[in-house]
């Protein structure tokens, strides 16, 4: 059971992180809303944090972790 104080602290931390998101989100793509286009990725780099977050969430699942461990062990045996 998580003590109420810790839970509230976690909630406040979540609040702080989420509050920073909108100001930062205004800084990426160009202010007109068009893809930045400054490089060949044409804004594709913006998907990197979202993909990284998705991988983080997905890989935190116990079943996925177990599969990853088995793959690592398999690679270790091969080498």
């Amino acid at each position: 059971m998580i003590p109420a104080l810790v839970r509230e602290k976690t909630g406040m931390l979540a609040f702080g992180i989420a509050a920073l998101f909108p100001p930062f989100a205004t800084l990426i793509p160009a202010s007109c809303g068009v893809a930045c286009g400054g490089c060949p990725l044409t804004g594709g780099c913006l998907a990197i944090p979202a993909v990284a977050a998705g991988i983080g969430v997905f890989s935190s699942r116990p079943r996925i972790r177990a599969i990853a461990t088995r793959i690592r062990e398999g690679i270790a045996k091969l080498s």
Partner: protein, 299 residues
Amino acid sequence: MAHPMAQKERATDMPALATLKRNKWRYLSLVAGFLLFVAPFALLGRGVNLLIGGIADPTIHTFCYRMPLAALFGGGFLTVLGTVAGVLVIGVVSASFFLGPAFCGWLCPAGAVSEAVSRVVPLSERYRLRLKDPAVTRGLRYGFFTGFVAVAVVIGYKLATIGSLTCKYCTPSVLQTLASGLTGDITALSYWHTGSILTLFSWLLVGGVFMSGGRGMCLFFCPLGALSSLSHTIGKKFGMYRVAFNAGKCAGCAECKVSCPTWAIGSDRIPDSTLCNTCRECTTACPRGSYEYRRGGPE
């Protein structure tokens, strides 16, 4: 004796057909919401045009959820007060005070589509994110809302030159261009840009497929949803309509938690009014009728 399922809170995949039958009126209402707001149907927009003699093409933009809110906090609310969108936003937030955020749970097409995608994609619940603690979900939701308000203030009062958050990441716009493109208006797809691609990605894939209930966008990125829930929370204190929990009837089966698309039900089983969208899935999912949509009274 405790319910057998109380031994371990299940994260089951709810039988889809049973869920569909139990909540048929809500799902029919969500379909009606799509037909009312989204072009080429946009029945409500057409009705408004008939009423006031409007000539603009009726789309979901007729009822923009976001601009009136940005204008409210940016000091320009009077400019949108008489607009159709302004009336909608005032109506939704006011109705939430009395009835709860029923617009979000029963009518909003953007939320309906991501929820539908979540239910249709046959991905096991174990691969979907569901925050167990409503305090964290609440923190994320109102953190984003605070940031949205801060950006609206900065832009509205010209404190700095930054891009608008309101239109750059607009879920209803993405929905509208998708609907228009799929129904033959290919020119609608010229709208697409980085912001809309990110919005689509976070709305349907991250918030829809990979979040339990498919309401990730509503929970974390919708300013109207956050404001409606705040209005509902104040209304609840004044004894207005809400989803109430009767602990005496609860068997601890956790079907309510599993069925709640907005993760409003925590370990104490009391719906968190800052997250609840009064969809009333818990009232139909609970086998012992522990949840009731009613006015006032103790929890």
